[in-house]
Amino acid sequence: MTSVNLQVNVGGLLMKNPVTVASGTFGYGAEYADYFDVSQLGAVTVKSLSLEPRAGNPPPRIVETPAGMLNAIGLQNVGLDTYLKEKLPYLREQKCVIIANIYGNGPDEYAVLARRLEDAGGADAIEMNLSCPNVHDPQNACGGGLVAQHPDQVARYTEAVKQATRLPVFVKLSPNVTDIVAPARAAEEAGADAVALINTLIGMAIDPETQRPLLSNIVGGLSGPAIRPVAVKMVWDAARALRIPVLGMGGIACTEDAIQFLLAGARAVAVGCASFRRPDAAINIVRGMEAYCRKHKIDDINTLVGAVKV
């Protein structure tokens, strides 16, 4: 076997390997350039971008939990303009493939974000964050909850973005649903090119001494190895039900974790808060995948996708 093909096509986005990073855990790429050449990743997914800069929630925003963490950042980000002016040039210079994760109030803002990103060459794919537990979208027309918890809303938001851009559109879903297939299918039917899952699980922690929540936002999103089994299961469910690809994430820390997601049906994976512990986690997984394929005599990583033997 001379070489292993690691290239994957995620709903029209060509990635030279199936590894990206999870939005909000890798900044805008440059922050981790000290540790490795970030252009070697299949793609860099940037922190959720909103039209205007967002200040996020008051601190404390972080709590450590067993094998994971809760965050209640609240989507603090530089906003679209600053992204295009100050963050994008570095990523383009490095020749990174860019997945721009976006967050808006209502479908129109999502659409504007997508269109302006496309126009400015600010993204190679759009990931719609419909599932952040730390913010509230007043235009989610279904009496509270996350957009991703309401299939009809998922469809509405997805359609708006699909009409606004020709870039591949990924819809990022929440695990806090009775059946992940419902919103996933709604996204597919509305034209999404892929679904991304999972976002964090809603959680809460209380300090028994002060008797107050440990996050100023009271609740936050749970991530990390703790949630990996939940994520693998949801990827498996979604991948079997859909024709469009799944971008899998949730607790991936090493190659073996990433392989589980591919076997469960993910076309590509994103490494999230594991980077906080090991900034080179994602690139090590790229290397590990190649080694895994050689060991198992696999010449194309795509053959692993959904190949779990049940």
């Binding site: 981790y32 000290d34 972080i62 709590v63 067993p66 963490m69 900034p279």
Partner: protein, 266 residues
């Protein structure tokens, strides 16, 4: 430039009850580090605890750095269990160091409790760069918790002690002690310690017209500016607006830039 390296623990000693000093063989980190920067330590392999622990760099040597820490919870307890000769994964140096005046200037360092940790390195740098040993106020709850007195004295620093219970030196808080040293508009004050102390030191400095820097703490996940977890409210705009990252825009801030009142609600 920050590195992630397995570092050998060269020495590891108790310096006061529940307080330890650890010297780490870390040539790449030492060569880049400046006083006031910090490292993120992976206290043990596996996912429990999940996050690294931030620790200030105490002193910078040729190919090593030291840290000074207090055992307060699971992470620091595990750290305390590591033996000399064993290996610890260290990420650093991170954050911005203390601003160092270009010329000779009166500097006063105020350290409270374990907050003294970054001050020996700062004193050393001030001596090297300005030729003048800074004055130091060392404050702690009791005499037993006063740290680094000898070290700082040996660098030529006039050290004033203060204890909450009067068991050594001045009986009272650090800010009172600082006021007695009469800082003025030509003085630069550096402080590190409990938030209430740094805030009180800030107030003294504002009244005296002195410049004042503080090294802040915050819950950190990444230490690298990507998670947005460690913010503090500031009065001026930084890269991410008025919610500045302690790990990136800090940990050292001009105290006039801190919205101290934001701490009231916590």
């Amino acid at each position: 430039m920050a590195h992630v390296r397995d570092c050998e623990i060269i020495t590891h000693r108790e310096i006061a009850p529940d307080h330890r000093r650890m010297v780490l063989h870390a040539p790449e980190i030492a060569v880049e580090a400046r006083a006031g920067q910090f490292c993120m330590l992976e206290v043990r392999e596996g996912f429990c605890p999940f996050l690294r622990r931030p620790m200030s760099i105490e002193r910078i040597f040729d190919d090593s750095v030291s840290i000074l820490y207090k055992i307060v919870g699971q992470g620091t307890r595990l750290l305390a269990g590591l033996q000399t000769g064993s290996v610890l994964n260290v990420q650093g140096p991170l954050g911005n160091g203390f601003p160092i005046p270009a010329e000779e200037v009166r500097a006063i360092l105020v350290g409270g409790g374990i907050g003294v940790a970054p001050l020996p390195g700062l004193a050393e740098t001030l001596v090297a760069r300005t030729g003048l040993a800074p004055e130091v106020v060392l404050a702690a709850r009791t005499e037993a918790h006063l740290l680094c007195e000898q070290e700082l004295s040996q660098m030529g620093c006039p050290v004033t002690l203060a204890t909450d219970d009067g068991s050594a030196g001045f009986h009272g808080f650090a800010d009172k002690c600082l006021r007695r040293l009469e800082p003025d508009a030509d003085t630069v004050v550096y402080s590190c310690g409990p938030t209430v102390m740094m805030r009180a030191v800030h107030t003294v400095c504002v009244e005296a017209g002195a410049r004042c820097y503080a090294s802040l703490e915050a819950e950190m996940a990444c230490g690298d500016g990507v998670c947005m977890g460690c913010v503090v409210e500031t009065n001026t705009e930084h890269e991410f607006g008025k919610m500045a990252r302690v790990c990136r825009e800090g940990p050292v801030f001009d105290t006039r830039d801190i919205r101290w009142s934001a701490y009231d609600v916590r």
